[in-house]
């Protein structure tokens, strides 16, 4: 996969993840766009790779956030401590 298509896939994946963001989809979309725009002038492949890696880290963080949020909400709703 070329670096360009990797960046595009990363952007689309994050955009899709943003739909469930607690702060709201428009807020997330703005932040995402700004973050990608800030790095749009990068030329060195190694720097782009590390930026992609940071993006993939954010994906993992978001998945963990959503999972934890759901688990805690369900535990509170259905299980008495």
């Amino acid at each position: 996969m070329s670096q360009h298509s990797r960046v595009m896939t990363l952007y689309k994946t994050l955009l899709h993840l943003g739909k469930e963001y607690p702060g709201g989809y428009p807020y997330f979309r703005n932040k995402l766009k700004n973050a990608f725009m800030k790095n749009s002038s990068l030329k060195d492949p190694k720097e782009i790779d590390s930026a992609i890696a940071r993006g993939e880290f954010v994906i993992k963080e978001l998945e963990a956030l959503y999972m934890l949020r759901k688990y805690r909400a369900l535990k509170k709703r259905y299980y008495e401590d």
């Binding site: 994946t13 899709h16 993840l17 607690p22 998945e63 949020r69 759901k70 688990y71 369900l74 299980y79």
Partner: protein, 254 residues
């Protein structure tokens, strides 16, 4: 072991949405509200996918009953790792009166038609909280059931299941074929990321009507009224412990 697993996935209002009751008290507002797969069903799918990854299962069939939008729920199931989907389509008004008994009958029929070895469903749906489908399905099929499962181990032709019950944990052994219902702590479901959803578009979804399965979806239960819980009364502040006791006595708690 190479099991064929049938997983039930219900499309419900998303768990994070604030529920609003319709003004005519006939039900809950569902128009334009975010829907997603019932969290307990996500746990059920995840368990089936893990069994397939461990080579205990060979095929996972995801099932959903409802209006056209249920296809989205099935796509999520396919994105998580199910192999194919079955969508039994019912219209909007029919869906509002659909009850666990109808779903159980559908699951039982499909289990026979598709030669299913194991049915996994979520323990209960977060919208109706019935906790009936797994039990009714097992009864209709004459299969053993293991409900509220928090751990499943497959061992030659049977399952060892740890159940979460009021007193703690109960370990039982059920012979296959059987019905299992997933509890919260069975596993942590994976997130269906966009690349997986794209790949899942190639997986087939079979569409059926209730009459194809020979099932009558007329309701057996009528919802009389749906109301919001009473508004929480404001508390009262008191000066000291004696005042607290006074107040409690006045309210009738001696």
């Amino acid at each position: 072991m190479s099991l064929r697993i049938l997983v039930g996935c219900k499309r419900v209002i998303d768990y994070a949405v604030k529920i609003r009751v319709k003004p005519d008290k006939s039900g809950v507002i569902t128009e334009g509200v975010k829907h997603s797969m019932n969290p307990f069903d996500e746990i059920a799918i995840e368990e089936a996918v893990r069994m397939k990854e461990k080579k205990i299962a060979k095929e996972i069939v995801a099932f959903s009953c409802g209006p056209t939008q249920c296809q989205e729920t099935l796509r999520t199931a396919l994105a998580m790792g199910a192999d194919r989907g079955i969508h039994v389509e019912v219209s909007g008004p029919e869906y509002e009166t659909l009850q666990p008994l109808h779903i159980s009958k559908m699951l039982a029929k499909l289990a026979k038609d598709e030669q299913i070895d194991l049915i996994i469903v979520g323990k209960q749906a977060i919208d109706d909280d019935c906790n009936q489908t797994a039990q009714m399905t097992a009864a209709l099929l004459g299969w053993p059931q293991a409900t509220s499962a928090s751990k499943i181990e497959a061992k030659d032709g049977s399952l060892q299941v740890v159940r979460e019950i009021d007193g703690g944990l109960e370990t039982i052994k059920v012979k296959l074929p059987s019905v299992v219902s997933a509890d919260l702590r069975l596993n942590e479901p994976r997130y269906a990321t966009l690349p997986n959803i794209m790949k899942a578009k190639k997986k087939p979804i079979k569409k059926l009507a209730p009459k194809d399965l020979g099932i009558d979806v007329s309701p057996r239960i009528q919802v009389v009224t749906v109301e919001e819980p009473p508004v929480r009364q404001a508390g009262a502040k008191v000066e000291n412990v004696d005042a607290v006791v006074e107040k409690l006595k006045a309210l009738g708690h001696a």
